[in-house]
């Protein structure tokens, strides 16, 4: 993907670096207080049942704001056209949870100050945002916005919140085997040996990397969406990230030399196959042998 936006990169430099390390999600108070707040609304209670323990990640979305585009008059005079379009999109789809000025809304959505265009790209391009309903975890789904609209949203958030920017160049430009070692050390514990994904506690899960594109993987490492830890550039250098992406994409695209991959999850599917296919076929066979001609 080459959604890199030179405009937003230049904008990023203008943003004061103070917000660069600031926390992405506000403290929403104690979980108990959050629960009390939620109890007030019947609709929210239903949502809370679904959301379970995720008081810290209360994000709502897809609420089409009735606010007129002009109601929030832009203060900044020097806004590029992309940013302006992004603001419009933001105010239509994001503002109810992330606030007027990206500051977040308690119990609904985190602050977007300092998350940067990387997080925006990941969340919106994988379809996680805007959120349709609150669950243990935002599922990926077909992206709602077009690539152009995503660029505009990125430009807006980058200009107003700052944060990590998108990488450029060949994202698979890294050593394959070294990427494998890094993947097994840093990623496989949640995403499985081959990026199949896996279960986490209480209904959360690490998603499969099978359909993820290079930039999504890169921005996920950079921004640490939801429960994923952040892998900043000083922890995993851009070269190392590219190696990991190279490994993941190589492995997920690789055909299986030994026949059907049966999910590549190892003993569970193998056990299923031996009973459902192997033993069943042989039972059928001995039935037939035992029957009279």
């Amino acid at each position: 993907m080459s959604t890199t936006n030179p405009q937003s990169e230049t904008q990023a430099d203008e943003v004061a670096p103070r917000s660069r390390w600031s926390r992405r999600r506000p403290a929403e108070g104690t979980p108990a207080a959050a629960a009390r707040a939620r109890r007030r609304s019947k609709q929210r209670r239903r949502l809370a049942n679904v959301a379970g323990l995720m008081a810290a990640l209360v994000l709502t979305g897809a609420v089409y704001s009735t606010l007129a585009p002009g109601a929030q008059a832009a203060d900044e005079g020097s806004e590029s056209s992309a940013e302006a379009a992004g603001r419009e999109l933001y105010e239509r789809s994001c503002i109810s949870c992330h606030g007027e000025n990206l500051e977040g809304v308690p119990n609904r959505g985190p602050s977007l100050i300092g998350v940067g265009e990387a997080a925006v790209y990941f969340q919106v391009h994988t379809g996680r945002m805007p959120l349709i309903r609150q669950e243990a975890q935002a599922p990926d789904k077909p992206a709602i916005f077009s690539d152009e609209e995503i660029d505009q949203l990125m430009a807006y958030v980058q200009a107003n919140g700052g944060g990590p920017t998108l990488p450029s160049g060949d994202l698979r430009d890294g050593d394959l085997a070294a990427g494998g070692e890094l993947f097994r050390l840093n990623c496989a514990q949640c995403h499985n040996f081959v990026g199949e994904g896996g279960a986490l506690s209480s209904g959360k899960y690490a998603p499969s990397l099978e359909d993820a594109n290079d930039l999504e993987i890169y921005t996920a490492m950079l921004s640490g969406p939801e429960n994923m830890p952040v892998f900043g550039d000083n922890q995993l250098t851009p070269e190392e990230k590219r190696s990991i992406i190279n490994y993941v994409q190589t492995i997920t695209d690789m055909p299986d030399p030994g026949g059907a991959g049966i999910g590549r999850i190892g003993p569970v599917s193998e056990g299923l196959v031996i009973w459902v296919v192997g033993v069943a076929a042989l039972l059928f066979g001995i039935f037939w042998m035992g029957s009279k001609a």
Partner: protein, 566 residues
């Protein structure tokens, strides 16, 4: 013998003369004839154990091939083989040589995969075989020894399999080995000593793969092979059990002689088992350890499971609550000890002792060669189902993270489902099975007493509707059958007693001439003898024209008088 050589009837053919030469030296004609004449019962369930035997043969053949290439060494090397994503990675020679088998030996991957699938099949067929033995009571005197050997084979198979999949030193099996190390450490008092003895020091050392290797290719297979030999010798000596049926008694075996019928079928089965393993080995990828990566104690993957036959122990470990026991003197018994050492200890002890326990509890010390139908021994059958339920809950819990992931269930919920299910499901299985067994028993007795439901509805003169029942034998003055239940299946459908035309054969289209079938049917005249005037169709539980049966005879559902509709 010399006398035969000059005697009349001496063989003239080349083969005959050669056979004579052989017998002159080895004197095998007698034993060979006895073997060829051995009678095998003709029931499909007797072939389950053979599947296990044949998969073991596959294991021996493919395993020997794999030893030509596998190097059981933990020395670290830098991989430089065909598989690019690992080139330049540090790994043990064991792992590297397994990669070489998979990528650099022509056909090596196929053999490796056949070996692994055959191992899974070996264990699965042992379990199936054991269930058959259990539910039909084939373990009863005089066959307790073979039951013990069978359970020993099952346990050895688990160890053999564990050693086998731990040898390649990949990340998945290494994680399993790490858990095994923790299990050994968890044994009270001697745990650390046992660990130092097994691993030659602290985990992981550089000896364990070599030790697993010699256990896997020599020690355990030799014991398994010896036990299989004894198992079969005892079987031949004791002869087969059989299901009850016409002409079958405690003192005979009815079936086919080994040669040629049974030998043909058994060889056929051997080849089909080979075929299934080869098919799975080529078409379905198993343990793709190049994807797992080499073992590194700091790395792990989500969804790390052992092979299915060890998975129940992983399940028990996941479900067991966090109960460390602290003893005076600052000693403690780790929580890990209970689900991984004590629980399998109890399971396998119960399994081993079951024949003796049943003998004690039922007081049945007689020799048995006729099998029981599971429904006729409801307590044993229900206990068996209870045990299976317990086992399946453990097995599924061993895969609970995969289930949670694939079916979008909370992982914590899966753990609790397993914990609760482990306690409440087995008793439910017991009660349900018990009821079903009694129901089936009653239905058998009912058919014997009242006859088969024909589906023919007759209206009596006073307007009552009844279903006509076909008695299976002579009836008394109340119209009740006098046949006793003999432990054999009771026919439940008219065409099982020849009362209906047999189905025309053919899967997509008939391959038989319907008229020919009818003719054949007429010629056979089995079952029903319509010429017999005494055997007329009578209604169930309805003595002549009178009232309801007052004695214990339970009217069958179908025969229960129904309200006339008009």
């Amino acid at each position: 013998m010399a006398r035969t050589a000059t005697a009349p009837g001496a063989p003239k053919t080349l083969a005959g003369r050669a056979a004579l030469e052989v017998d002159d030296r080895l004197i095998v004609a007698g034993p060979l004839r006895r073997t060829l004449n051995k009678v095998f019962p003709d029931h499909w369930s007797f072939l389950l154990g053979e599947i296990a035997l044949y998969s073991f043969i596959i294991l021996l053949l493919t395993g020997t091939y794999l030893t030509f290439f596998f190097q059981a060494s933990m020395t670290e090397v830098v991989y430089d083989g065909s598989y690019a994503p690992l080139r330049g990675v540090e790994m043990s020679i064991a792992y590297a040589s397994t990669l070489d088998i998979s990528f650099d030996v022509r056909g090596g991957l196929l053999i490796r995969q056949i070996h692994h699938w055959a191992a899974l099949l070996f264990m699965a067929s042992i379990v199936c075989h054991m269930l058959r033995i259990f539910f039909t009571g084939a373990f009863r005197r005089p066959r307790e020894t073979n039951w013990l050997i069978g359970v020993a084979l099952l346990i050895l198979g688990i160890f053999e399999g564990f050693a086998g999949y731990s040898m390649p030193d990949d990340l998945l099996s290494g994680t399993g080995l790490r858990i095994m190390s923790a299990i050994i450490l968890s044994i009270p008092v001697i745990g650390t000593w046992a660990h130092w003895a097994v691993f030659g020091g602290d985990y992981v050392g550089d000896l364990i793969v070599g030790r697993l290797y010699i256990a896997h290719v020599l020690i355990i297979p030799a014991i398994i092979l010896g036990l299989i030999a004894v198992h079969l010798l005892i079987l031949v000596k004791q002869k087969h059990t059989q299901f009850p049926g016409p002409g079958r008694t405690e003192h005979n075996v009815v079936g086919n002689r080994l040669f040629p019928t049974f030998a043909g079928k058994a060889t056929g089965l051997l080849l089909v088992v080979f075929g299934v393993c080869a098919g799975l080995g080529g078409l379905v990828q198993i343990n793709p350890l190049w994807l797992w990566g080499p073992y590194n104690p700091a790395q792990v993957s989500s969804a790390s499971q052992p092979d299915w036959y060890v998975m129940f122990l992983d399940g028990s470990t996941r479900l067991f609550p966090a109960w460390d026991i602290y003893l005076p003197g600052n000693y403690n018994i780790p929580a890990l000890f209970w689900p991984t050492v004590v629980l399998p200890g109890i399971i396998f002890t119960l399994l081993l002792a079951y024949p003796m326990l049943e003998r004690k509890l039922t007081g049945d010390t007689a020799s048995h060669h006729l099998l029981q139908r599971p429904r006729d021994v409801p307590v044993r059958t229900s206990l068996g189902l209870m045990a299976i339920t317990f086992y399946v809950v453990l097995l599924l819990s061993g895969a609970n993270d995969v289930i949670a992931d694939k079916f979008d269930i909370s992982l914590n919920a899966m753990t609790w489902i397993g914990r609760i299910g482990l306690i409440i499901l087995p008793p439910i299985a017991y009660v349900l099975t018990y009821r079903i067994c009694l129901g089936l028993q009653q239905h058998d007795r009912e058919v014997l007493e009242h006859g088969i439901e024909t589906g023919v509805i007759r209206r009596l003169p006073h307007g009552e509707f009844i279903e006509v029942h076909q008695p299976l034998g002579p009836v008394d003055e109340h119209g009740h059958g006098q046949l006793a239940y003999g432990g054999a299946p009771v026919p439940k459908k008219m065409n099982q007693v020849g009362g209906a035309r047999r189905a025309i054969r053919g899967f997509f289209s008939p391959i038989e001439e319907p008229r020919a079938v009818e003719l054949e049917q007429r010629g056979e005249e089995r079952g029903l003898a319509p010429a017999d005037p005494h055997r007329e169709l009578t209604s169930s539980g309805r003595p002549s024209e009178g009232g309801r049966p007052s004695e214990g005879g339970r009217p069958s559902e179908g025969g229960r008088p129904q309200e006339p509709r008009d």
